[in-house]
């Protein structure tokens, strides 16, 4: 591959992987069963799209099943959102290049709920931090955070440098957290994940968590992990008695670690900057991660028979796989009846958040996603956090309510 016998694209991929592997002292490569690439046009820009097009022009094909993270433009709904034709053109060019290389455009960050979850011990090359932390922690698969270029390289070579979370030693717990109160709704799970993520604060820390007695749902762990990865760049956690590599605390090596208490006060301190009860709200967003069919059902039920305020927009992001079920179940109709807009195959923060905010006059944003409120401060928003129920009640009144 390095010699160019498999073409220039594969040569680039191997050179890229060797550079990264050298930085992390990888001794060899490991075969991967799947790759998943994050690549929205805002991140790629003209330069990134041209780079991918140039690879595709060599007629290279991916060597393992490769899927994609959410797109930045819903090509069926971009002008009303304030996105430009140039953004859509960039998106179309990227999609065409990916298809030419044999990449399956799943456009989802919940592939572990909808496409093909990795299995225990499976080595994969996944992008999207939420996908990686869930796959590592809940499924027991093995992936580093693979940024778009590295995920693409793994797709082209069918392997990845063996470092980080592909190695047993790096999956052992390094911090031990004791939770005082079990989270209830999705926002609570996100806030707990965010708090632990901020406390751990490094890609190389592995939290083990005690004090969770009730087995969480996939959606709860989805929000928990996505927030932990967002606030702390953490790619793996263990929950004692629940996640597969930690049926007992000693399994993950947590027994001798100092206990760090995660107090209710610590969680409240994290949430405090995102509290704005009584403020006008411009947009309510359900995204990051994309909603599962169960979340769509819950949202539809909350929307039933109600109407959003004329001054508050409501955006819901889900995957194409979930969307078709949500249509057939009538969930989309109920959300639209409330005045919400369901976007397909995108995620709000990945779709030119600054530009669509400016185009629509959105500043005060409300969400039940601890991840999205963390991200959007840098995009000119004033983000606030509330439960799904409070988000819908706020959208109805146009004012943030408890």
């Amino acid at each position: 591959m390095l010699a160019g016998d498999f073409g220039l694209a594969v040569k680039w991929a191997m050179e890229h992987q060797l550079q990264v592997g050298r930085m992390f002292d990888a001794e060899d490569m490991v075969d991967v069963s799947q790759a998943h690439m994050m690549a929205d046009p805002e991140s790629l820009g003209e330069a990134g799209v041209a780079f991918v097009e140039n690879l595709a022009e060599t007629d290279v094909k991916v060597r393992v099943p490769m899927i994609t993270d959410p797109r930045g433009v819903d090509l069926n709904y971009y002008e009303p959102l304030g996105q430009t034709e140039n953004m859509a053109v960039l998106e179309r060019r990227f999609i065409a290049a990916c298809k030419k290389m044999g990449i399956t455009m799943t456009n989802t960050c919940i592939n572990y709920q909808t496409i093909m979850p990795p299995v225990f011990g499976d080595h994969v090359a996944y992008g999207d931090t939420g996908v990686v932390i869930y796959s590592n922690s809940v499924c027991g698969a093995r992936s580093n955070f693979e940024g778009g270029p590295s995920a693409l390289a793994a797709g082209l070579t069918g392997r990845t440098p063996r470092y980080g979370l592909h190695l047993d030693d790096n999956r052992r717990a390094t911090k031990r957290y004791q939770v005082a109160e079990e989270p209830q709704d999705l926002m609570d799970w996100g806030a707990l994940g965010a708090t632990i993520g901020r406390m751990a604060g490094s890609y190389w820390e592995v939290p083990v968590i005690e004090g969770i007695e009730t087995v969480p749902t996939s959606d709860q762990l989805k929000h928990f992990g996505a927030a932990m990865a967002s606030y702390g760049s953490v790619p793996l956690f263990h929950i004692a008695g629940i996640t597969p590599e930690c049926q007992k605390l000693e399994d993950a090596g947590g027994v001798d670690l100092e206990i760090i208490k995660v107090t209710t006060q610590a969680i409240n301190r994290l949430k405090e900057p995102f509290s704005a009860v009584g403020d006008l709200v411009d947009v309510v967003v359900f995204a990051a991660p994309q909603l599962s069919i169960i979340e769509m059902a819950e949202l539809a039920q909350l929307c039933r028979g109600r109407k959003r305020s004329e001054t508050t927009d409501v955006i819901v992001c889900t995957s194409a796989q979930v969307y078709s079920d949500a249509v057939s179940m009538g969930y989309v109709a109920e959300i639209e009846g409330f005045g919400g807009q369901v976007l397909v195959g995108t995620c709000f923060y990945q779709q030119y958040a600054r530009e669509i905010g400016e185009a629509n006059g959105w500043i005060r944003l409300l969400s039940n996603s601890a991840k999205i409120v963390n991200i959007l401060g840098g995009y000119g928003y004033q983000p606030s956090l509330a439960s799904m129920e409070a988000c819908i009640a706020s959208a109805e009144k146009g004012i943030i309510v408890k």
């Binding site: 890229h16 330069a47 940024g147 778009g148 270029p149 190389w204 401060g377």
Partner: protein, 136 residues
């Protein structure tokens, strides 16, 4: 006064530039206005500061995978740092640096790099040798 700092072998070419230092973390998506080349997250310690052509010295990486593409995109428009030095890098930043051919090193032997280097220091970063030289 120190003459050089040892670190882990890194990525990218040898570069010379002026340091911009903060004991804070980094994500291109979360923290930057990439059009104008400034830190845009109000809570960031470098809020409002330009990162163009400087050597950023920060604690660690945070957040998402987008930074990998974004470093390449920033470099293509020449509104990018010359190098980024971290106490501890995550995989995304290293992968992005490799694609963007941006200099990046981490893991300094003498301790917290955000204390060892001060804003305004003139530095030469040598990733292949794993060292940073004070040029003044």
């Amino acid at each position: 006064m120190r003459k050089e700092l040892k670190c882990h072998v890194g990525i990218g070419p040898e570069v010379k530039g002026v340091a911009l230092v903060a004991n804070d973390n980094f994500s291109a998506r979360y923290d930057l206005d990439r059009i104008n080349g400034v830190f845009s997250r109000p809570q960031h310690k470098l809020y409002g500061k330009s990162y163009k052509d400087v050597i950023l010295v920060l604690n660690t990486a945070k957040g998402g995978v987008a930074t990998a593409w974004m470093l390449y995109e920033m470099a293509s428009r020449e509104i990018a740092p010359k190098a980024i030095l971290f106490n501890s890098v995550n995989t995304i930043l290293a992968q992005g640096a490799a694609l963007a051919e941006m200099t990046m090193v981490d893991r300094f032997e003498d301790g917290d790099v955000t204390k060892l280097i001060k804003t305004g220091d003139l530095l030469i970063v040598c990733p292949d040798e794993g060292k940073v030289i004070f040029a003044h």
